[in-house]
Symmetry: C2
Subunit: 368 residues, 2 copies
């Protein structure tokens, strides 16, 4: 059977391996597997969320409130924007998909950093858009601007701040200066999936959604409940933008794109700010151990504004071999070879998980 | 800001009103609201599913197993097909979206019954495909074939069996005869969202996925956990087709399109066949009451192979007024005016819910 030609070259996203797979493939007991591969919150999720879900497990036969009244109410209070400035997606991923489908096509181009969140490229390819990337792996706004000025028909610019999978971020003032040079009809995506972490580490990195969309009506801010809020498995993200952008993206939103339990989880998670702040505080305490660990082994790393850290390996080490050896010991991390880098990305885990990682990684690294 | 032109005419799906909205708008206590609008299973979901979910509520920070190993294993056993013949979607809706985006575009056409599941048209419009419909409201395969033979470039045919929102179905033998006339490069979607009900009521209506995809490699069968399995709020559906179709649709599947809890719920729901069969048995016992009720009031109805019934109102009654009046009394049903019909669709509820519906509907109907 023939299909639309733009699908021909699409490769699927390669997700972090789930614990179940390691159990199945290597026969390791699930309780001995440590997953430091998908930047989930190692402290789980708020106990208040878990309690709330247990209360409504008997309502799962009912479709969710498709207006998402309560969640939009919570987000609009949190961010000081109107309901009409908010769209909810099955993860911020889904909003990325709406954006690409609404704003770009075979005749247009999108611009992103060389090494950034893989879904930008995957969604763009699915609509046949031309993909432009900077030369530098991490975000370099001068390069973004040079490409933008030299090319026509760039309809979307993706800024991942902080950037996944590398961890760097950019100060708000520099982002604002950059945005002054961008045309009104180019949509700039500020992907803030890890913004809670960046804002905690350095307030100059903090990007305020209501402020940025007011100053630059051609921006959309994306946030997620998958990281600091501890709801990776529930698939809830949000987009904040001016009404004309939101109302258009809403046309591509399928009904009931959030499950009944996911909606409840997100509403409750928003209320437990203490859990989020504690998770982030612990994250950066543990991050210090990773930085010292890397320095001790003479491994280069990118200072991270997130809940993961990227080790850039030297030529005599192979990221794929190291990740595979760790996997056989029940430790799942992310090999960045698929991004063209001899590097590994490690989610910062709990104190115990990190200690185990350090001891096993050292042995493998020194042997390899 | 400018967006892709094909979005201009898209109207959003109008979902059944949730109980929360009726509570908010009319100040009716949630326990007094009866929702007979979205064809959810009125008997809830299997207690085994609910127990299983409570056990893993503390895992919601973890992304789901994106290979969906266990669920595919369960479905492949159930239907006698390979893992590679199965795709899982956030509801079968999402698979419809993949199908439309993979197989049709601005230069092609899709064919469907005049009055059928609204998402076929909404997804098709989003890619700018030309939409062709039969003249008859219910499925008439002679009309389908006539249009198919007279038109070029029909890339997708949607058969909703049984049909939502009207309730009719078509015997397997007639479907097979129809399929013999369809070209290999036209994808025929057999939307079996309510097939469990049809198969129970009349075995001649039963369409077996493994059989149909073997005989007709240009078909895809869609099933859902939202109806008979009682998981409307969890958003899990599946598609069964030959490998070339599935592997192409998989390119459009976003990673983690099913939540961690939804995956678990579907796996457990598949195991509790007794719950499903009981729900269906009770459904048709209650359906008899609706048929008698309609006959007594001299209301025409379409014999239904589903868990809902459609009342076709005479000209002196107005479906919108009746639905609105019921809403104010806390009973949510579906007005079919948006489908161009002076009709209402009522989900068959529990015995108590139906009794309450009969008594309130009678008063409103006789007064209106």
């Amino acid at each position: 059977m023939n299909f639309n030609e733009e699908l021909r070259d699409i490769k699927n996203y390669s997700a972090g391996k789930p614990i179940e797979l390691v159990v199945r493939e290597f026969g390791i007991d699930a309780k001995d597997v440590i997953k430091l591969a998908s930047n989930e919150n190692p402290y789980g999720s708020s106990p208040k969320v878990i309690d709330a879900l247990k209360q409504i497990c008997n309502k799962i036969h009912l479709y969710p409130d498709d207006s998402m009244y309560k969640l939009k109410e919570g987000l609009s209070k949190r961010f000081g924007v109107l309901d009409s400035n908010i769209i909810i997606g099955a993860g911020s991923d889904q909003i990325l998909e709406f954006i690409v489908r609404a704003k770009s096509n075979k005749n247009s181009k999108v611009l992103m950093a060389k090494t950034t969140f893989a879904m930008y490229e995957i969604y763009a390819k699915a609509v046949g858009t031309k993909i432009l990337k900077t030369i530098s792996d991490t975000h370099n706004l001068d390069e973004f601007l040079e490409i933008y000025n030299n090319e026509k028909d760039i309809k979307i610019i993706f800024l991942c701040l902080p950037n996944n999978p590398l961890g760097e971020s950019i100060e708000k003032n520099k982002v604002y200066k950059f945005l002054e040079n961008i045309d009104n009809d180019t949509l700039v995506v500020i992907d803030g999936a890890y913004q809670e972490y960046a804002a905690f580490k350095d307030k100059d990195m903090k990007i305020n959604p209501s402020d940025i969309i007011k100053k630059f009506p051609n921006t959309i801010y994306l946030g997620t409940f998958s990281k600091a809020y501890g709801l990776g498995g529930m698939r809830v993200g949000y987009g904040i933008a001016q009404n004309d952008i939101i109302s258009t993206l809403m046309k591509l939103r399928p009904p009931f794109n959030i499950t009944t339990l996911s909606l409840e989880a997100a509403v409750e998670a928003l209320k437990d700010g203490a859990f989020v702040q504690n998770s982030i505080k612990n994250n950066f305490l543990q991050m210090k151990r990773y930085e010292k660990f890397a320095s001790d082994l003479n491994i280069n790393f990118i200072p991270s504004y997130t809940n993961f850290i990227t080790f850039l390996l030297k030529n005599d080490k192979n990221s794929t071999c190291i990740a595979d050896s760790l996997l056989k010991k029940g430790i799942i991390i992310r090999d960045l070879k698929t991004y063209g880098l001899n590097a590994v990305r490690i989610t910062v885990g709990t104190k115990e998980e990190n200690s185990k990682f350090f001891s096993i990684f050292s042995i493998i690294y020194n042997a390899g």
